[in-house]
């Protein structure tokens, strides 16, 4: 082992003996490794290479199936969890005994309980869930909406996410609604006030009995509801922008058209610059929200 670890240049160099060197300057035979030594080193190296090759071949042999063998089946992706029926859930049973037909299908997905509820009974159900000592859903975590444009009879699902702080439990209620909307639950949870305004603002779903139903995020005279599926993602010039935002100059318009032509509209620099100037200058661009 000691010989193996020796560095190549660590041997003591043999000084050529003057007496042994001839006048032609040829080094003495003792300083040059003889053919036997060279052959030995080569053989050793070759043996090591062969050994490594045989190891690689052994590994490959283990990996590749023998010729003619059938291919192993392709592993299918593991399917994720699917919602399961939760009609036997204690809370669902309790609600069914109390409200009967107003409680629809219930499903559970990764521990989250969702219950479909009739829109007429939403306030009564929410009130019950809040005040009942066994449930105590005292916190309206979120109130949101989903748009299903192809479901003509009721294109919206209003979704109530409830949380019980004392019980540490959650439940999701879903109500199918039209644009006319559903009854407001601001009487049950005052926090629903702004959440319902937000849903009205972005989806156009009305909440009957809301104390102050008006737009929350968008200007009051905005037209359209941006979170509906038929509303495009991209900014579109409309009546509000024409009235309230400065128009682009001809040069800017030309720049935009050129960018479009070259597929560089992504940046949309002129529009953004105009917007920045407006807000930096502190110019009032929105009508007062009254």
């Amino acid at each position: 082992m000691a010989e193996d670890t020796k560095q190549p240049g660590s041997e003591t160099p043999t000084t050529p003996d003057a007496s042994t060197s001839d006048s032609s300057g040829t080094p003495p035979p003792s300083s040059i490794p003889d053919a036997g030594q060279l052959a030995g080193a080569d053989a050793e190296k070759k043996a090591m290479v062969d050994q490594a090759k045989s190891r690689v071949a052994a590994v490959k042999e283990g990996l590749t199936p023998p010729e003619g063998a059938p291919k192993p089946p392709v592993k299918k992706k593991e399917e994720g969890p699917k919602p399961t029926d939760a009609s036997s859930h204690p809370l669902v049973k309790k609600l069914k005994t109390k409200f009967g037909q107003a409680i629809g299908d219930a499903s559970e997905f990764i521990g989250q309980l969702s219950i479909n509820v009739a829109s007429e009974a939403i306030v009564a159900i929410c009130d019950f869930l809040r005040t009942d000592k066994e449930t105590q859903f005292d916190y309206l975590s979120d109130l949101t909406c989903v748009h299903y444009p192809t479901r003509k009879e009721a294109p919206f699902d209003v979704v109530y996410n409830l949380y019980s702080i004392p019980k540490n439990e959650r439940v999701r209620l879903k109500v199918q609604a039209t644009e006319e909307g559903v009854d407001s639950v601001t009487g049950v949870w005052p926090a629903a006030n702004w959440l319902e305004r937000e849903v009205f603002d972005l989806f156009g779903v009305h909440f009957k009995g809301h104390p102050d139903l008006r737009r929350l995020l968008l200007p009051p005279d905005w037209q359209g509801y941006p979170l509906r599926k038929d509303y495009p993602l991209e900014f579109v010039e409309n009546a509000w922008t024409e009235e309230h935002l400065p128009q682009m100059t001809e040069v800017q318009m030309e720049q935009v058209q050129q960018r479009r032509a070259y597929g560089l509209e992504i940046l949309s620099v002129p529009q953004e610059r105009v917007m920045r100037e407006i807000f930096r200058g502190g110019k009032e661009v929105m009508t007062k929200d009254k």
Partner: protein, 86 residues
């Protein structure tokens, strides 16, 4: 979903140029020039959904999308058999 997939889902015909749509007897409608592919899909979806309303109301016999590299245009074939003036 891509605009083509959206068109397929709502049974809308796909054209690669406005002229092709006109030749097929379609009337061009709303057009959008979105700045990226996500917005393009959204624009296609928005246009198709509006056209679907036309189809269900009986105003349009067929609906279609003209999908160009930088724009999406809605088109529809009017219910009457007459070919519209181009």
């Amino acid at each position: 979903m891509t605009p083509k997939e959206i068109a397929a889902q709502y049974e809308a015909k796909v054209f690669d140029s406005p002229d092709a749509a006109k030749v097929a007897g379609f009337v061009l409608g709303e057009s959008m020039a979105p700045r990226n592919v996500w917005n393009k899909a959204s624009a296609a979806s928005a246009i198709v959904l509006k056209l679907l309303d036309k189809k269900t109301s009986g105003e349009a016999e067929e609906i279609g999308l003209v999908i160009e590299p930088w724009s999406v245009t809605g088109c529809y074939k009017p219910q009457s058999a007459e070919t519209p003036a181009a």
